[in-house]
């Protein structure tokens, strides 16, 4: 008898395995519970619901018996990264993240959940048409109210198609979930740091002879700019001037600025996380710091974090936090930079358009902007165009990025004009 009860202890081994398995499950549950719940979003969302854009257009709706989408295919595709689908193929879609999820309560259940969006689905369609299949991102928001009007990522898919053969990266929302080499748009950040860190900036003159040598390493410029004031240097997008400024400000001041504007953290758009950017965290040495100051080196920025930055500049340093969903509550705002810094940047960005890019390219828009042609290191470059309209009727801040698009002004600037003309005239 004693022998038998002793041997029976092997049963405890089996019990131990069961306990270990359960613990492993609990760990996985804590780690992935949200993704699991989101995977069958349709089932987990509740009894019925709908997603309706700012003009009252129903983008997606579901009831216990059926799921519907907007009948217009192009509209569905253009808004895919906003609505998501019932398969959970994009991480940022509202259908995917429809339910409030917490480990404590699981996904919360709502009888009839209707989401009214700030997004204008037709504006999204226009932006998608303008991108014309090129991979890229378009973001437009009202910098006074925080309403996000346009969020388009290309390429995209039809959410109704169960098994599409999409272009690479169609499931990724380039506005929120990816980071890109910023190139010259980063000079806005260096400029903000310089305005606050260098007292005699307006008296400075910057001499550009096509390149500059910093500690034995040559930093090339896009042109031969000669002697320039600070505003001229920005409008020329002069690498010589800005790499020198970056080195003069020093690594701690540059890192502080990048941190303060929220570029290194994941930001949230109504709870949907954005990708965190990168900037050399340790002092990489002067030449590399020079490159980092003009948006090369290891710099990577998420388009959404840039939108927050230009929106704060446009709103005198106070950021009205972007909101995808229109709800009753007032959005909150926070100060990203001093008002005088923001106003100076506004002036500089307006100077860019008037003296650099040409106002006649953007008829009637009262545009303040900055271009970027970011070398990706493989011979191609990302085209950027970021800025805002100094127009109280249309207080729009925007970020437009075209991957491998070529010239910032030529590709992204032209696209920006088309999209913004449409937005203003809507």
């Amino acid at each position: 008898m004693k022998q038998i009860s002793r041997r029976a202890v092997v049963l405890l081994l089996l019990a131990l395995l069961v306990v270990c398995g359960s613990l492993l499950y609990v760990v996985r549950y804590v780690e992935h519970g949200q993704d699991w719940a989101a995977a069958y979003a349709r089932e987990n969302a509740g009894a019925s619901g709908a997603i309706i854009d700012r003009k009252g257009l129903v983008l997606a709706a579901f009831s216990p018996s059926e799921s519907q989408f907007q009948p217009d295919r192009e509209l569905r595709i253009a808004n895919f990264h906003v609505t998501g689908d019932y398969y959970g193929r994009t991480g940022t879609g509202l259908l995917t993240g429809y339910q409030d999820f917490s480990l404590l309560t699981g996904s919360s259940f709502s009888e009839n959940a209707v989401l009214y969006l700030n997004v204008d689905a037709e504006l999204n369609r226009k932006a998608f048409q303008v991108l014309d299949g090129r991979p890229g991102a378009v973001l437009i928001m009202n910098y006074r109210s925080g309403e996000l009007l346009c969020m388009v990522s290309s390429p995209s898919i039809d959410p109704l198609e169960a098994d599409p053969q999409p272009q690479e990266g169609a499931y990724i929302n380039r506005c929120l979930s990816a980071c890109f080499v910023p190139g010259s748009v980063f000079k806005l950040i260096t400029a903000a740091a310089a305005i606050e860190g260098i007292p005699d900036l307006s008296e400075r003159r910057f001499v550009c002879e096509g390149s500059v040598e910093i500690a034995g390493v040559t930093i090339k410029c896009s042109g031969y700019h000669g002697e320039q004031t600070f505003e001229q240097a920005l409008s020329n997008s002069c690498n010589v001037a800005f790499s020198q400024l970056s080195v003069e400000l020093g690594h701690p001041a540059m890192l502080r600025a990048v941190r303060r504007f929220g570029f290194l953290e994941s930001q949230r758009l109504d709870g949907i996380p954005s990708a965190a950017g990168s900037f050399p965290l340790e002092n990489p040495g002067d030449p590399e710091l020079g490159w980092a100051g003009v948006g090369q080196s290891t710099d990577l920025l998420c388009p959404y974090s840039l939108l927050r930055f230009v929106a704060a500049v446009a709103n005198d340093g106070e950021l009205a936090e972007p909101r995808l969903i229109r709800d009753g509550s007032l959005g909150f705002s926070s100060r990203l930079m001093r008002a005088d810094t923001a106003k100076e940047l506004q002036r500089l960005m307006h100077y860019n358009v008037v003296n650099g890019y040409g106002e006649d390219r953007f008829p009637g828009l009262r545009l303040c902007a900055k271009t970027g042609t970011a070398e990706r290191g493989d011979g191609s470059s990302n085209a950027w165009f970021v800025g805002f309209l100094a127009d109280e009727e249309h207080p729009y801040a925007f970020v437009i990025m075209i991957e491998r698009g070529g010239s910032g002004l030529g590709a992204a600037g032209t696209a920006a004009n088309e999209i913004l003309q449409y937005a203003v005239n809507r």
Binding site: Q3, V18, V26, E43, G106
Partner: protein, 569 residues
Amino acid sequence: METASVLLLISRAVMLLCSVCLLVRCLRSMLRERYDPETWAFLRVGGETLPVTHWENLLGSSRGADLRLTLPEVRRFHAVLRRGDAGDWRVYDVFARGGVRVNGAPVGRDGLPVKSGDLISLNRQGLRFVEADAAKREKLEAGRLPAGRRISPALTLLELTVFQLFLLVQHALSAAPQVLPAITLAFSLLILLEWSCYNAMRVIGRSGFEVETLAFYLTSLGFSVVASSAPEEMYKQALLALLAVVLFLLCGVWLRSLKRTEQMRLPVALAALVLLGLNLVFGREINGARNWIILGGFSIQPSELVKAAYVYVSASTLDRLFRRGNLFGFIAFSALCVGALALLGDFGTALIFFVSFLIIAFIRSGSIATVFLALAGAGMAGMLAVSVKPHIARRFASWGRAWADRWGTGYQQTRAMSAAAAGGLFGKGAGAGWLHDLRLNAAANTDLVFGLVCEELGLLIALCAMAAVLILVFFALRSARNGRSAYYAIASCAAMTMLLFQMGLNVFGSIDLLPFTGVPFPFVSKGGSSLLCCWMLMAFIKGADNRKDASFAVRPGLKLFRGKQEAGA
């Protein structure tokens, strides 16, 4: 609307509290109750008196012997001293190596009777066997503490009842009005059943109710699963529960007599094989496995009933345990069962039988080598099966990568996991989930039941359900130590091996930690045959629980003794 959400909130809190309390009480009762040994007789060796505390005792010089005799010429395991149902004692020379005598007469494998005052000799060592007389027995029994004195079983059962009532409240909030009466009635019947059962035990003077309480707890989770997935079958479920408890009581009463139990092992083994054979011939295929028999409108899964038979047949008394014939019989019976199940395509159940076989084989023989040999053999057979049956191979191929093949082989598991995650720690409320829709998830109330319980009642209650099975395992182990016969000890451990492994396969299969084999969660998964089998297996645990006045499946020690005195007079 407002009251509904408040009710839901309260019911979640109360249900969790009741679950935890009743589990802790059952566990504490096991830890804190005294498992006083029963003393049946004495062996006098020189000046020493050793109490004989089991019906089956291994005599020898080993630490593992029940009566340890560290004397010269006594072998490590020398002889078995066994008491029969009627108080008749026998000595067996189990290893047939000679050197065992009673009053000078040599003892063989089949043993010789021993009476009080007889001299048992092991080689040249003499032991005087003295049976405890009535007065002594009475005194010894009076010193043992009856079960249920420290932790009141009534209060534990009350907690269970409160749990069930709030479970019913949750269903009332979500169920369609036309099915609500059926759900209410079924739950009321279950509550009535458990209290009747408890009162019946009180009437016959038995006070151990932990096993029943845990089984009723799991059964009520099963009721909840049926109520949300197939409410039209609630009446059937209630009747099944009634039938299951009746079978449980019958099996328990049957187990009271060890002689009867032993004599029927062969007929039960044959009946089980015939049942499996009939299944092979007349079986209907439902969901890939041919393990169903349709009988008068009822679909029965014989493989479930054979589980109870397997435990019944596999256990053995100590005197027969070491006989070759007995061991070979056990191996042959196991092989036939596993083989038949494999032919039926019931891969999961075959695996349960096989693992139970391994553990029972180890408990019986203590030989790790045998177990490894069996494992190696099975491994090869398994590989053969996997190569022959493509659907089994596919299950293994998708194991651990369910999310990568969400719309293919991982469909069921990912849905269970998604629903489980959506439930959070406290659940959406009974009947308020989506997984229970059988049109979309055919296996929701059987193979994916863990996901369903997680979604509707929350992860914590689901873990409580697993804990209930684990506590039953500890209970079986604890009881085995004091069991009267090796038969009861082996049977109760074998029963829990089966249920524990089955639970592991069900839970970890549905959450992609193990290949998805599609076996039921004991008591909780919907399925009549499975519920009946689980309750019958509980009878084996009751059979081993010989705390004083604890179990109806164990005859009280004192009565046994008095009966013998009368018969002798």
